[in-house]
Every structure is written in structure tokens, then in C-alpha cells.
């Protein structure tokens, strides 16, 4: 057996120096004349951020993972592990690495971090393109039947049943139909689509092919954000390779089915993730949504019936076809089947991509694979789910199972699966302001409630965080949220007030502290900071004394701690380190 060296080379691996690491491996291998016995695999990212991850698979030692590998470590690994057969203990991944993967169920991500995404043969060797071969022997209705049986729902956010969407598009009468893959992953805090495109682009292509066959489409577009240069490059290569192998183009695998895929690069507009805006953008216009109906399934791209599915949805399709709809629907919970990929980020120990069966509780996700809070001294406050359209959930809702219905009942939405964990040093009013700032900037300006309403809400939130809040502001925010929800034209506008609604619902006391007492209890809002030690909360531990760069803290152990405002440079180092929120 050849020794395998798997190096994670997604955007994060490369930014941490993976290219240098590969170079050094090549150099070292040729130095010891090991090139013939060893195979270097440049895989996508595995989902866990540990700078450069390197796996060595040998017959003798099995599979061993090394983390935080620097180019200078390579010589040691080659000499000690590959040649002498001894583990390099000090570089091995710690226990939390295994813990991260233990509770996951990887279907969509099963290839990410394992195979070389730029090598179509590696994909084929892992049952790749076997689903399309199977599909070409089935009828279109059988394929749609299988997808319907699986219970797969759109992974982009709204959770519309995928099988039904396919059926509607198939039923539309037209000689030309399109498949569009929505890879305009704009939600801040979500990066599963980028990782799938970087780590397993062929799975998305195969999903599009199957969808194309099922609904009777001849061409497909992938609409991908320009902010994802690596994903775009890998996708381009994958399309070329698939074309050369006869999986794309005219008369695929010598059948009557023909299908082509083109890439459309986005130009930086969040609203283009909305399907009608996305279609306008592909057509070369401003990405502004239009009212539905007609739905794209009837009249989409250039007036033709168009099926729009998200990257993760399409990546699931090949597994459903090979393993069957029944297998897929046996995973999951109530009306939400299969697995979902979540992007864990923020103040959490293990940031990265986690794939778990639907129905797993939020708590299990954060404290299982997520490894709990980044700083154990500063406890959990909230988790933000669903990006700018979602909401902030407090600790008491952590046992909510993750499925479309349960999450929606809390006031958040499943969204594309971004989960940003926040600790007690995060101000909820500031978060609401942050999200509105985002949606105001990204509003396309077509409908009044979104264009004007959100702006008015933002102004009020800016006032509150600057200490100029008025008692009637909360009532105004509630009323405006309800109006926008009812009247905005598209999904972006309808859901934009959600961050405000949920923070008001679960953290109203923080709003009141800002408005009535003019303080920011989390020590975030710059306009409200006084740099005062709250005697009733302070335990005189001296942590602040240790971090103050200006020597402005006067502290005596167990006795007193206060700030000399003449020396204070207002850098917030003391506020950020205090586990008791005693400095405001």
C-alpha cells in the first residue's frame, strides 16, 4: 500500500500556509527518494479550523492526524513518521479533534478533507457519478419519486420540499428548461456551500445532472459569489474534467440526455441569494426581486421554467439516489429529514463545519462537536441562527431540536445554517443594530417598507446604542417590525426585522438598561462606556490589573480595584477580560 499524505487545502488551509507545507513534503520525499511509495492528496477543508491539517496513512501506523503544521515541521514528520515509523507525539491532533467528529454524521461532507477535489478519478473511485448512471436507467418520474420519498427539503433556508419543486418544474410545459444552483451564500456566518464547492465540486455537478434529467432541462447555471475565488476555480476545473469524461455535454454516457453547465459569477449583492433576484442577475440586470407567482418553476430564467436549488441540497441528491429515499428519510426528525451542515463560529472552542442529523438539539451541537465556550470563565449568552434573517436565542432555548418547524417557532429561522455563538461580552442591542446595518446596506431599494422602514429602525437602534434612547423606542421597533414583516416584497425584507424581534423578545432587559439606565451591561456600546468598576460585581481578582497597558488600574488583592480615568486610554482590555462584567 502506498503511504498517503492528505493535506487540507481549502481557503483556510491555504491561508495558514498549506502550499508551503506541500512544497516541503515534495522536497523531503524526493530527498529520501520516496516519491514512488507516497501519494500526496490535496483535499478540501475538513471543517475544523486547525491551521494546516495533515493526515498520514501508513500500513504500520494506520491513519494519524497532525494539526497546526508549519512548513518547518515537515522534515520531522517525513523522517520520524514515514521513514522510522514512530509517531511525532508533539504535533498530533489533541483529543478534542476526535471529539469534534465523534457526534457528527457526515453525508454531504463525507468527501471534504478526504479526496482531491481537482481529481475526477478520485471522485469516481468513491462511487462518484454512479448515481447519474443509475438515474439514466430510470424514468424521470421514478427519480422525482425517490427524492419525494426521501423528504429532502431546501437547505438554503426556506425548507421547501425539493421533490415537489422538481415535480412542478417537470410539469411546466416548455421545450427549454434550466437548472440553477444557488451558490450565492451571502449570509454572514455561513460557509458550508463554500466548503462543499471547494471540497467536493463534483457532487454538486452530479446533483445538477440528476435534477436536469428529472425535470427535463438541458442547461444549468451555477451562480456563485465572487468572494469565493477558490470555490470558483475548483468548480471550473471540475466542469472541464466532467466534460472530458463525458458526464457533461451532448448525449451523456451515450444516452439521449444532454446537459451543459455554466458558471455565473456574482458581483457582490446579498439580495441575489433571493431566487428571483438571482435570475435577474444571471440575465445581466440589477438583482431586484419580483413578486411571485409566477414562480420560477413556471417562468424563470429568460421566461423559461427554472429549477433553483441550493448547493447543499444538490450535494445530497447523489446519496439519495444511490442509497434510496427510504434510507435518507430514516435519518432525521419529524418533518425534517437527513442531515444538516452547520457553520459554528464566534466565541466557541471549535469553529468549523458540523454535519448532524436533523433533530439534534442546539445544546448538543455547541457543547458536543463545538467543544463549548471559547473562554470558560465568560459564560454563554446567546446563539445567532440563520444570519440576518434569523434570530438570537437565549440559553433556555438551547434544548430546541434543530428542524425547520422548531427553529421557526422560536422566532429565528433555520436559514442556511450559520450559528454564531455569543458570550456575555456580546451586547444584544449592538447585535440587532449590526444586522440592521447589514440589511439596510443590502436592501435593493425596490419596496418602501424595506428601503425606508429598515432605515428608520436602524436610526432608532443607533440612538439607543449611543445612549440617546427614548422610552417609546421599543414600542416603535415592535410596530415597525410587524409592518415590515407583513408588507415587504421579498424574503430579505420579510425576515430582516427578525434579529430585532428576537432580541427584544428574549433580551428586553438589555434594551431597557441602555434606554433607562444609560449603560451597556456587556461593555460593548462605546457611547455608553464609563470605565467604572461596579463594586457590587467586582471580586477584586486583579485580572484587569494584569492586562491594562496604561497602568490605569489601581488594585490591591481582595481590597479594591478602580480605574484612574486620567491614565485610562479606553482600550477596553479590562472590560474584555473581566469574567464578572464588573467594568462598564
Amino acid at each position: 500500500m502506498k503511504t498517503k499524505i492528505i493535506i487540507c487545502m481549502g481557503t483556510s488551509g491555504i491561508s495558514a500556509g498549506a502550499i508551503e507545507v506541500v512544497k516541503n513534503f515534495k522536497k523531503e520525499l524526493s530527498r529520501y527518494k520516496l516519491n514512488a511509495q507516497c501519494q500526496i492528496i490535496r483535499s478540501g477543508d475538513r471543517g475544523l479550523f486547525r491551521d494546516v491539517l495533515v493526515d498520514i496513512v501508513t500500513e504500520q501506523l494506520g491513519r494519524v492526524t497532525y494539526e497546526y503544521i508549519k512548513p518547518k515541521d515537515v522534515a520531522l514528520i517525513v523522517r520520524q513518521h514515514i521513514i522510522e515509523g514512530r509517531l511525532v507525539q508533539e504535533l498530533r491532533a489533541k483529543d478534542d479533534y476526535a471529539q469534534f467528529f465523534e457526534e457528527q454524521m457526515r453525508i454531504v461532507l463525507s468527501h471534504c478533507g478526504e479526496i482531491d477535489p481537482e481529481d475526477i478519478d478520485a471522485y469516481i473511485a468513491n462511487e462518484g457519478y454512479s448515481a447519474i448512471k443509475k438515474v439514466l436507467r430510470m424514468s424521470a418520474d421514478e427519480v422525482i419519486g425517490e427524492i419525494k420519498k426521501s423528504g429532502l427539503r431546501g437547505r438554503g433556508g426556506a425548507g421547501f420540499p425539493t421533490g415537489l419543486k422538481w415535480e412542478f418544474t417537470k410539469q411546466a410545459k416548455n421545450d427549454l428548461k434550466y437548472i440553477v444552483c444557488n451558490a450565492d451564500e451571502g449570509d454572514p456566518g455561513a460557509f458550508m456551500d463554500r466548503s462543499i464547492l471547494e471540497g467536493d465540486p463534483h457532487a454538486v455537478i452530479e446533483g445538477m445532472l440528476i435534477a436536469g434529467f428529472a425535470v427535463g432541462a438541458q442547461a444549468g447555471y451555477v451562480y456563485c459569489r465572487a468572494e469565493y475565488p477558490l470555490a470558483l476555480a475548483r468548480l471550473k476545473k471540475a466542469i472541464l474534467a466532467a466534460d472530458r469524461k463525458g458526464f457533461l455535454g451532448k448525449r451523456i454516457l451515450k444516452t439521449k440526455f444532454s446537459f451543459d453547465i455554466q458558471i455565473k459569477e456574482g458581483a457582490g449583492a446579498f439580495v441575489c441569494g433571493e431566487e428571483t433576484a438571482l435570475l435577474a442577475s444571471i440575465e445581466g440586470r440589477r438583482g431586484m426581486p419580483v413578486t411571485r407567482p409566477p414562480f420560477p418553476a413556471e417562468q424563470g430564467l429568460w421566461g423559461r421554467p427554472t429549477l433553483i436549488n441550493n448547493v447543499e441540497t444538490l450535494a445530497n441528491v447523489r446519496y439519495i439516489i444511490t442509497k434510496g429515499g427510504d434510507w435518507f428519510s430514516s435519518i432525521g426528525f419529524q418533518k425534517s429529514k437527513g442531515t444538516k451542515v452547520f457553520a459554528l463560529a464566534g466565541k466557541i472552542k471549535n469553529t468549523g463545519l458540523v454535519e448532524v442529523p436533523m433533530g439534534t438539539t442546539i445544546r448538543k451541537l455547541i457543547f458536543g462537536p463545538g467543544g463549548g465556550m471559547l473562554n470558560k470563565n465568560i459564560g454563554f449568552k446567546a446563539v445567532q441562527i440563520g444570519g440576518p434573517s434569523g434570530g438570537c436565542l437565549p440559553e433556555k432555548l438551547l434544548d430546541t431540536p434543530i428542524d425547520y418547524e422548531s427553529i421557526t417557532s422560536t422566532g429565528a429561522i433555520m436559514g442556511s445554517g450559520g450559528m454564531v455563538v455569543m458570550d456575555k461580552h456580546t451586547c444584544m442591542v449592538d447585535m440587532a443594530r449590526y444586522f440592521l446595518e447589514f440589511t439596510v446596506a443590502e436592501s435593493c431599494g425596490k419596496c418602501v417598507s424595506c428601503r425606508v422602514g429598515l432605515k428608520r429602525m436602524l436610526e432608532v437602534l443607533e440612538d439607543i446604542t449611543a445612549g440617546k434612547g427614548k422610552p417609546q423606542d421599543l414600542e416603535f421597533l415592535k410596530e415597525m417590525s410587524a409592518t415590515i414583516k407583513d408588507t415587504a416584497l421579498c424574503g430579505l425584507g420579510n425576515t430582516a426585522p427578525n434579529p430585532v424581534v428576537t432580541t427584544l423578545q428574549y433580551f428586553e432587559d438589555e434594551y431597557e438598561a441602555h434606554i433607562k439606565n444609560k449603560i451597556c451591561p456587556s461593555g460593548v456600546c462605546a457611547g455608553l462606556l464609563k470605565f467604572e468598576v461596579l463594586i457590587e460585581k467586582c471580586v477584586k481578582c486583579g485580572l484587569c490589573f494584569g492586562v491594562c497597558p496604561a497602568g490605569a488600574i489601581i488594585w490591591e488583592k481582595q481590597e479594591y480595584a478602580k480605574i484612574n480615568l486620567d491614565k485610562c486610554i479606553k482600550c477596553k482590555a479590562c472590560i474584555n477580560v473581566c469574567p464578572f462584567l464588573a467594568i462598564i
Binding site: 483556510s12 479550523f49 468572494e227 457582490g268 442577475s281 444571471i282 443590502e442
Partner: protein, 162 residues
């Protein structure tokens, strides 16, 4: 400088337009090509496109101002993008943007006087695991701190002097 730009526009812009001849939905990819050729969209190019495609310049301006990616003014030699996504916001991305803005003496969307750096904020780069993230040209720098960014800037300035 001005005359030189005009010359380039006439030849290269027309060549780029010809590449898309007879295809549908070409305006955005065409503008993207022109931007990667010039670093921004020169006014002269807009007029040429309007003529060649028989559309009004205002339709092109409509696209250019709608999408954040397009620039109507020349850019600095290096573009610094500071991520302001949710994760980066929680991890202190704002402090880094404020630092850069102060250090370079420009607001986001502007270019420094010496034309070395353009500063931009982006919504999310999808690298939340390495938050806060700074991207200079196409190189990603994760877990950024003010100290790290200070060194990076110095590095890019030294490169210039070499």
C-alpha cells in the same frame, strides 16, 4: 495618463465585447472582465459598451452602482478587505477596520493618497472559523489582530520599496 487610458479602452474594451458577441446575459461578466483589465470601470469604456450593445449608458450605470464589486474610480495598488460578517463582528473585526481606517487616513471605499491601499469592508468571506479575517489582494489572513495588521501593512510597504 488620460490619453493612454483612452487608447487602451478603445482596443481592449472592443476586444472584450467581441468575445461575448451574440450571447445572452453578458453585461455583468463583460463589466467584470473590463474591471479586471483596468482595475476599475473607466467612463470611456461605459460609452463604448453602450454603443456596441445598443443600450443606454444609464443601464450600465444602474448595474455598476447596484453591485458592490464594481468601482468607478481607480483603485490602490493593494486592496485590503476587512470582513465584517457576524463572526468577525463578534470577534472584533470592527476594531481592525477602525485601526486601518485611522492608520491609512481613509474611510472604507476610499484609496490612500499614495495609491498604495484601497480599504473595503465586506459582509462575509465565509471563513468565519478564522475570524476576524483580513484579505489583502487575494491572500487571506485569519485571526487578525491590530498588531498583525500593523506588520502586514509594513510588509506591503517594504515590498514597494524593493
Amino acid at each position: 495618463m488620460r490619453i493612454e487610458l483612452m487608447k487602451v479602452n478603445l482596443t481592449q474594451t472592443k476586444r472584450l465585447i467581441r468575445k461575448y458577441h451574440g450571447k445572452k446575459g453578458i453585461l455583468i461578466p463583460l463589466l467584470q472582465d473590463i474591471q479586471s483589465a483596468y482595475g476599475y470601470i473607466p467612463t470611456a469604456a461605459i460609452e463604448i459598451i453602450a454603443q456596441e450593445l445598443s443600450i443606454f449608458p444609464v443601464d450600465i450605470y444602474g448595474i455598476l452602482t447596484f453591485y458592490a464589486q464594481f468601482y468607478l474610480t481607480p483603485r490602490g495598488k493593494h486592496t485590503i478587505k476587512v470582513c465584517q460578517g457576524t463572526a468577525c463582528h463578534v470577534m472584533g473585526g470592527k476594531d481592525i477596520l477602525d485601526y486601518l481606517s485611522g492608520k491609512l487616513g481613509i474611510n472604507q471605499g476610499e484609496t490612500s493618497q499614495d495609491r498604495m491601499f484601497s480599504l473595503e469592508r465586506v459582509a462575509c468571506l465565509g471563513c468565519c472559523g478564522m475570524a476576524p479575517v483580513v484579505v489583502i489582494d487575494n491572500a487571506f489572513y485569519g485571526r487578525a489582530t491590530v498588531e498583525k495588521v500593523k506588520k502586514l501593512l509594513l510588509g506591503y510597504r517594504l515590498k514597494k520599496n524593493k
